[in-house]
């Protein structure tokens, strides 16, 4: 841990340096990029969910005004054969320990033989303007032989089901299982058992900026630049280079200002590879900007899991056994493999002491948009099951839901706590610190206290009003590896330059990493120059997914700076004619401890370090003041939170109002409190949207029914409640700053907190809410069923 005197900037709510350009309209998003001779791409996308492509006639499209190229999937497959996939490889420790079977249906850049979901592209058109490209796309004529659509994962596993990927002969594309203790025996011997089915519905990240790619080939240097609205520039570069058989050194990928990501921009999409291919083929810069309709029917969706869970417990509500078998409706492709599904498994136990546990997951292909990580990435589904179960156990025994949680929560003195299963990095899960029961009490206090609420609830019921309280707890592995890198360089100007492969999408990284660097070097944050999301700035990078960048990059900055400090001190000692051990960093200088007048500015040390005739380096010290460090985290840090919602339900209309909402959370050491609050509240509101109204709906033919923002409901300013925040501070021992990740957390608990609150409000009707989102019709139906009314 850095001492207090050095942490002058970490911990402070510095205003963001990103704001100025964004507030003046001077931000640059990929759609804003204009290049000379640029052409525009538009796609022809499948109108049906599952069909063989019988014939495509592009002749009218190709002859349309301004058209440069019309390319079908079949022709593309001839020009650009598919290469083996470049998914993130799972660590060998995980592969050899976790029982798994994973088939990987690779998505063609354009569908060639058959289409597998409404919206899958099968022709691309390139023209002088986007208008001309869309006009021509409308002239493409295609004939299909429709196949039965697989829209329900359970039906998709029946022997007579249509097969989405024939080469596998099954729609069951992955199976995973994890266990500890003896769950069967513990279930059999448990005094009480409850079994329920849960469904966490399909919804999505929906950043306000859709995706987009611009690419340009430079013949002189034989190099390609790709500007993509992505969270993973190095991954895009790696796949572009592999697909086009180019050296990585000749491919540069840059993410400009990115208008939100939340996971949906966290992997490589076909367009990231196809647009660069077209730029090479046509020798013109090519631009493709996804429109909102395309985004809703092509960019990855998330969640969509059906769980059959069983829990065994004693008379005091102590959980003795927990078994969960679940299905993931994966859609037509599975770009992140086991990522989401294993996340669900690893987060089912949550903050509780449960000795006997087993989870079995099946991943099923269907004719829908691919399912991939979105803020929470498998954890909201786990929280829905576990936290609903806690309330059901409480209801069964006539206990307070909070009390059942208290009795099962891991206590602070048990930390660090070995959970007994592996994380997806292959390491045993060890909760690295925190006070879960205290977070529960904090969150309850923040909504006015449980006892006071129960009294209000009682009074309200007498008046015919239905108030309910719902709790949602979770633990969250954050800052996952394999690595992130930092290059730290001191310029002769005195500026300190940081470069990294982390890719911001609104988190304020230019600000927070300036704070971290400023503290590491005892300089003003304004003297830190930040270069992110550009493969030209650092050779290797991982990117910003999985609540990882503050954790991984701050540690990389720390270690790169430690090494660079040694060299800086060696050269400064030469300049100041003293021993390196007598030196310290202070206010942009290297100075002799206890001698205020003896100091040399960092810029002077950088000048002295330059290669050439007049350098001032001591013997044995090589030129330059730059260090790159790739930090490989030992394993994840564990953030946690408790959400509490109080709802007021109108049982006649099914309408509900969130009367109060509180979050008590821990993300270790906080770099910028203002930005942390912004992340938590933003995430929580996405979770509330998912809990109440956001959802993708398909009909029985696999037609998307929610293809516009008139059908897919996003929360507005007038829909969301005040959210009270309470903070816990348990620094992680796993990284130098003691930080834990927090980008995703807010979105994990709201759906289950709301479901629990509504179930609590309707406890007199013995209604259960085990399916999200909690819709008015569900509430009305539950009340009708309980009261026997048929009106």
């Amino acid at each position: 841990m850095p001492d207090a005197a050095k942490t002058r900037h970490v911990g402070r709510s510095l205003l963001r340096r990103e704001d100025r350009r964004l507030l003046l309209g001077q931000g640059q998003y990929v759609a804003d990029l204009v290049l000379p001779r640029m052409l525009h791409a538009a796609f022809v996308r499948s109108p049906i969910a599952h069909a063989r492509i019988r014939a495509i006639d592009i002749s009218r499209a190709a002859a349309a005004p301004g058209v440069a190229l019309v390319l079908t999937g079949a022709e593309l497959a001839r020009l650009l054969p598919t290469i083996p996939d470049h998914q993130v490889v799972l660590p060998s420790k995980w592969r050899t320990t976790v029982r798994h079977h994973i088939l990987n249906p690779q998505q063609a850049l354009l569908a060639a033989d058959k289409v597998r979901h409404v919206g899958e592209a099968f022709v691309v058109v390139v023209a002088e303007t986007r208008y001309a490209a869309e006009d021509a796309a409308a002239l493409v004529e295609a004939e299909f032989d429709p196949l039965p659509a697989v829209v329900d994962p359970e039906q998709g596993m029946r022997p007579d089901a249509a097969i989405v990927h024939e080469q596998f002969g099954t729609n069951l594309i992955a199976e995973l299982s994890v266990a500890k203790g003896d769950v069967e025996e513990a279930l059999v011997s448990a005094p009480h058992r409850l079994k329920r089915r849960f469904h966490h519905h399909r919804y999505a990240a929906l950043p306000m900026e859709c995706r987009g790619v611009v690419s340009a080939y430079d013949a002189r240097s034989q190099s390609l630049t790709v500007w993509s609205a992505t969270q993973v520039v190095h991954w895009v570069r790696r796949e572009v280079a592999a697909t086009l058989a180019m050296p990585e050194a000749r491919v540069r990928c840059v993410a400009l200002d990115v208008g939100g990501g939340f996971g949906v921009k966290g992997h490589v999409y076909p367009e990231d590879l196809l647009i660069p291919f077209l730029a090479c083929k046509l020798s013109h810069p090519i631009k493709w900007i996804e429109d909102r309709h395309e985004h809703l029917m092509c960019s990855c969706h998330s969640r969509d899991q059906i769980h059959d869970a069983e829990i065994g417990f004693d008379n005091e509500g102590r959980i003795l056994a927990y078994r969960d078998r679940f299905l993931v409706d994966c859609g037509a492709f599975n770009p992140i493999g086991s990522g989401v599904v294993y996340n669900t498994i690893a987060h089912l136990i949550g903050p509780y002491r449960i000795d006997n546990f087993a989870a079995e997951a099946k991943v099923v292909s269907t004719n829908k948009v691919a399912n991939a990580p979105y803020r929470g990435a498998g954890r909201p589904e786990a929280a829905l099951v576990t936290e609903r179960m806690m309330d059901l156990v409480a209801g069964h025994l006539g206990l307070e839901p909070a009390e059942v949680r208290r009795r099962n929560m891991i206590r602070p003195h048990e930390m660090p706590y070995k959970l007994g299963i592996l994380y997806r990095d292959g390491e045993p899960i060890v909760y690295d610190g925190g006070d879960y029961p205290a977070a529960l009490e904090q969150a309850l206090a923040a909504v006015g206290g449980l006892a006071a609420f129960r009294e209000r609830q009682r009074q309200a019921r007498e008046e015919g009003r239905h108030l309910g309280i719902g709790i949602g707890c979770y633990t969250e592995g954050t800052g996952v590896g394999p690595f992130e890198g930092a290059t730290v360089r001191i310029e002769p100007s005195g500026k300190i330059v940081l470069a990294s492969g982390a890719c911001p999408q609104g988190q304020g990284m230019e600000t927070i990493f300036a704070q971290v660097v400023a503290d590491a070097w005892s300089v003003d944050p304004d003297d830190v120059v930040i270069s992110l999301a550009d493969t030209a700035a650092i050779p290797m990078g991982f990117g910003t997914i999985a609540s990882r960048s503050t954790v991984t990059l701050s540690a990389a900055i720390h270690h790169a700076s430690e090494r660079l400090r040694e060299k800086t001190f060696a050269i400064a000692a030469n300049l100041l004619e003293c021993g390196a051990g007598d030196l310290e960093l202070r206010d942009g200088m290297v100075g002799v401890k206890g001698v205020p007048d003896m100091a040399v500015p960092l810029g002077k040390v950088a000048q002295a370090a330059r290669p050439g005739w007049d350098h001032s380096r001591p013997p044995g010290i090589d030129a330059g003041l730059e260090e790159t460090y790739y930090w490989e985290p030992p394993t994840v840090t564990w953030s946690y939170a408790v959400h509490v919602a109080i709802v007021d339900v109108d049982i006649r209309t099914g309408g509900l109002k969130i009367e109060r909402y509180a979050v008590a959370h821990d993300c270790g050491v906080v770099v910028n409190p203002m930005l942390v609050e912004g992340q938590i509240i933003g995430g929580t509101v996405q979770g509330i949207g998912g809990g109440l109204f956001e959802r993708f709906a398909y009909d029985s033919d696999g037609q998307l029914l929610t293809g516009s923002l008139m059908d897919y409901m996003v929360p507005t300013a007038s829909d969301v409640p005040d959210i009270a925040l309470a903070h816990q501070h348990s620094p992680s021992p796993l990284n130098p700053l003691g930080v834990k990740g927090l980008g995703e957390g807010g979105a994990i608990a709201p759906p289950v907190a709301i479901a629990n609150a509504v179930a609590d409000a309707l406890a007199p009707f013995k209604a259960e809410f085990n399916v999200t989102p909690v819709l008015p019709e569900q509430i009305v139906a539950a009340v009708k069923q309980a009261t026997g009314r048929t009106s």
Partner: protein, 162 residues
Amino acid sequence: MAEPIAIRLTVNGKPYEGRCEPRKLLSDFLREDLGLTGTHVGCEHGICGACTIHFNGEAARSCIMLAVQADGAELTTIEGLANNGEFHPLQQAFHENHGLQCGFCTPGMLMVALDFLRLNPKPTEQEIREALSAVLCRCTGYRDIVRSVAAAAQKMRSSGSR
């Protein structure tokens, strides 16, 4: 393709002349023909509000208007808010209150908020929330945007700015 039509309009106090197809969206005309890319396009069907500008002094969604409808009009876009690089009080309030994260909805949010504050200089929080529901933000959860607008209202009242 129909013949291009000539249009004249004033944007951020500056006169422009342009020619475009009658079907061209105003948002595309601003971004492509005038290079004013501060106006963002988030849905192209009039829901998200990112493309909001001021059209003859009133907030309007530029993605569901045609450029030819702006012939003779006076427009203000996000680029017209600051004065010689100095933030408008509303921009300053968004900066100080963390009223933006990714910045994509921000131009629309600012243009809607400014129109609203001119009509209602002393709003309640609920009135601010209802007005801002014209623009979708996916990052902030709105709390800090609402605070920004409330802070701006106070500052604009005391300084008499519009």
